[in-house]
């Protein structure tokens, strides 16, 4: 179990780095979504199911959607000018 936790932790770090460093914003958003999905696994390992449910719904679902919609609106506003 300990090794799985460490692997999940290292993958979390890798995706956090990719989210910062990627050139396209949409890729960044997808990496953030993967990051929060992996942190759900991490929370379950730490025996915090309450936090895990909230992170699964808000972190990887709604926040990703809100980011993508914002990106769409920015692009549309840029096209008009």
């Amino acid at each position: 179990m300990q090794t799985i936790e460490i692997i999940v932790g290292i993958t979390l770090l890798v995706f956090a780095f990719l989210a910062i460093e990627s050139k396209k914003i949409i890729n960044s958003i997808i990496y953030l979504s993967i990051l929060s999905m992996l942190s759900v696994v991490s929370f379950v390992f730490m025996k915090a199911p309450d936090v895990a449910i909230t992170e699964a719904v808000i972190g990887s679902g709604l926040v990703t959607a809100v980011f993508i919609f914002t990106l769409f609106s920015i692009k549309k506003a840029g096209d008009k000018e």
Partner: protein, 249 residues
Amino acid sequence: MKRLIAILLVAVLGLFIYSNLYTEGNGKLFPKFGEVNLSERVSEKYVKKSVNGNESEVVFNETNNAESGSANMVTSIVVNYRSFDTLGEVTVLFVSALGVGLLLRGNSRMKFKTKPNFILRAGVRIIAGIILITGIYIFIHGHLTPGGGFPGGSMIASAVLLFYISDDEFKTKVKAFKFLEGTAGSLYLIFGLLGLTMGGYFLYNFLPTGIVGNLFSAGIVPIVYIFVGLKVGSELSNLISDFLSEEGK
């Protein structure tokens, strides 16, 4: 070179966090899971539900009239002992939704470039009902199982989000959602004021708490969680519909 430094920095930070999280007991910041001496911690009071000094053992499905009847300790702290904090959180969410509504509110609905296909539409119709029921289950059973008002409400909002993605013509009945949000929020406050008149404290748990583990236990905790769930669900749905609207031409 810049990237190398960034990777090194991230690795050192991660090593620092994980070395603190996974050290063996004795004296370190985070003791190993399950090996902490509970009697030295504040949480023992909340586990035994005895902040006022009633030091009896709490047994699932047997104990009657515990101080806070909820079986889930997190809910017990969040909605019973620290309910005023939850009221503040709900207010923060309300203010942010209000800000989004004021800034982004448009008349017509934003259209996506590609039309949603048949499989997406049919799949969403099947799955949205299940998501809605799961959300309602989670906020009704918030005092028994992990979860509660916020996750349940946001699950409802995610079902609405799926409808928005799958159907180009879908538009929520904004007026009904606004009404639901306002009513749920004011009922939460009314329950707080009822506690003030009956028990002497704002948001006092004045209903009988019943047997630990039953659906109708924990006094006003499940009622408050239902209101919080409805409020958060309608608020986040409104927020999504505000994000997806654009100015009319």
